[in-house]
């Protein structure tokens, strides 16, 4: 178990459409019309968030794929999730 506490379950906002571009991805917030870019690791996390709203599951998937310590991985995951939530690209999973 990592030492960081995860926020509630999250899921991609219904206001976001996205597409993969050569391993990276572009997110478009339909409400604001603003584009966001994710690098390859961010894209992998975003893709996992399409299927999993539990960040622990996402973390375990990442640990299985990348050569990284659990602490570093959890911190990076939380950092990205925090940014995405702040920008309204992620919402809590139980919100409508």
């Amino acid at each position: 178990m990592n030492k960081l506490s995860f926020p509630p379950r999250v899921k991609p906002s219904e206001d976001v459409v996205w597409r993969n571009l050569q391993g990276e991805s572009v997110l478009l917030d339909l409400k604001s019309g603003v584009y966001f870019g994710l690098d390859s690791v961010g894209t992998r996390i975003w893709t996992l968030l399409q299927d999993h709203d539990d960040l622990q599951t996402v973390l375990q998937e990442l640990l299985a794929e990348y050569d990284v310590s659990e602490e570093t991985c959890a911190r990076d995951l939380l950092e990205l999730v925090s940014v995405l939530r702040e920008k309204g690209l992620l919402q809590t999973a139980d919100a409508t």
Binding site: Q22, G33, G37
Partner: protein, 372 residues
């Protein structure tokens, strides 16, 4: 419009019944001015005809030839950037396309109603009804994706992905429908406020078939008793319907339940459509047969470099073209002609402008965009 008999005759009749002698009319997007002319013919005291396209010059000439040069005031520009000297009794517009979500149509109509319509005034059209159906149409689908299905032995999935996220204009017949169509949304122009819309529809499949996608069409309600439609099977006019393909063709059985969520968001100057589809076998919510989440955001080739330059965090640095445009803008001081600016430009950037006409074209383009 003038070549579309159904549409023109419907508008004519709606205007004939609505416009009273002495009233003031606003025609947004007048084009060559046909509706402004009709308003005069039906007794309008004054018509304000707004058009951003240079075709407005043709409209002016036509108005003069028909003796309405004084009654019609043509205003070049966008209605959202213009003020009128009075409120009007009727606002008429024909700014939508196959669907109501076309560029700034909804914003323009809502803005005009708020700023220009007199109390008790009439909007023509009064409403747009967006209808949604699920359809079987191999032709509509494979017109989209066929070139990328085979690929002549090459893996063409990226191109196919673009194709199946591209809505397209079609003309389907009622036989294509796999379930009763649903009215997904009513846009009431006496009430509509913003450009964005969403609709959720649920269909009970009534016949077995291969579902290829969603079909959306519009009922154009001009007044309470005059309307026309581009529904499957209706009289052909220049509009068709819009086909939103699914990611792949799917097998549907009677009593399958299909839910579709359609979102239409104005992003910059054009709409982005998102259509999310879920199919439940025999109506069992636990038995999801198919699930697609699509958007025409995925339908056009995008350049990562170009997108990156528009990102919030990108720190831009000017290129050579910026120096040229900056030179031109600085030279537009209210006393120097386009020709004179072009001559100076060619002299200052000899490597970019080998002949004077190239410099003149460049200055003219900037002048059109930024001069009063």
């Amino acid at each position: 419009m003038i070549s579309d008999r159904v549409r023109l005759h419907s508008y004519m009749e709606a205007m004939r019944r609505t416009i009273k002698p002495g009233c003031a009319v606003l025609d947004i997007g007048t084009g060559p001015g046909i509706m402004a002319l009709l308003a005069c013919r039906f007794g309008a005291r004054k018509v304000y005809a707004i058009e951003a396209d240079p075709v407005i010059q043709v409209a002016r000439e036509i108005a003069v030839r028909n003796g309405f040069g004084e009654r019609i005031e043509f205003i070049e520009g966008l209605s959202t950037h213009i003020d009128l000297p009075e409120r009007v009794d009727v606002i008429v517009s024909d700014l939508s396309g196959i669907l109501p979500w076309l560029q700034h149509h909804l914003d323009a109509v809502a803005d005009a109603r708020r700023r220009f319509l007199a109390p008790g005034g009439v909007m023509i059209p009064s409403k747009h009804l967006a209808w949604v159906g699920i359809v079987e149409s191999e032709q509509a689908y494979f017109d989209h994706s066929q070139p990328w299905e085979t690929g002549h032995g090459f893996e063409m999935e990226p191109a196919r992905d673009l194709a199946v996220n591209s809505p397209k204009k079609v003309r389907l017949q009622p036989e294509a429908l796999l379930a009763a169509a649903q009215c997904g949304l009513v846009l009431d122009y006496l009430a509509v406020e913003g450009p964005d819309s969403s609709a959720k529809t649920t269909f009970l499949v009534t016949r077995p078939g291969i579902g290829h996608g969603m079909l959306v069409w519009t009922d154009y309600v001009l007044t309470d008793d005059i309307s026309f439609s581009n529904a499957p099977g209706c009289t052909t006019n220049i509009y068709g319907q819009t086909f939103f393909p699914w990611t792949r063709p799917i097998s549907l059985e009677p009593d399958d339940v299909v839910t579709i969520s359609l979102r239409c968001n104005l992003v910059a100057d054009d709409y982005t459509f998102r259509w999310s589809t879920a199919v439940f076998g025999m109506g069992n919510k636990a038995a999801v047969k198919y699930k697609f989440d699509q958007s025409d955001f995925r339908s056009c080739p995008l350049s990562p470099t170009s997108l990156r330059k528009g990102a919030e965090t990108y720190v831009p640095r000017t290129n050579g073209d910026a120096s040229i445009d900056s030179f031109i803008l600085t030279s537009m001081d209210g006393t120097t002609s386009v020709g004179e600016i072009a001559a100076r430009l060619a002299k200052s950037f000899p490597d970019r402008f080998k002949v004077r006409s190239e410099a003149l074209d460049r200055v003219a383009r900037v002048s059109r965009a930024y001069s009063e």
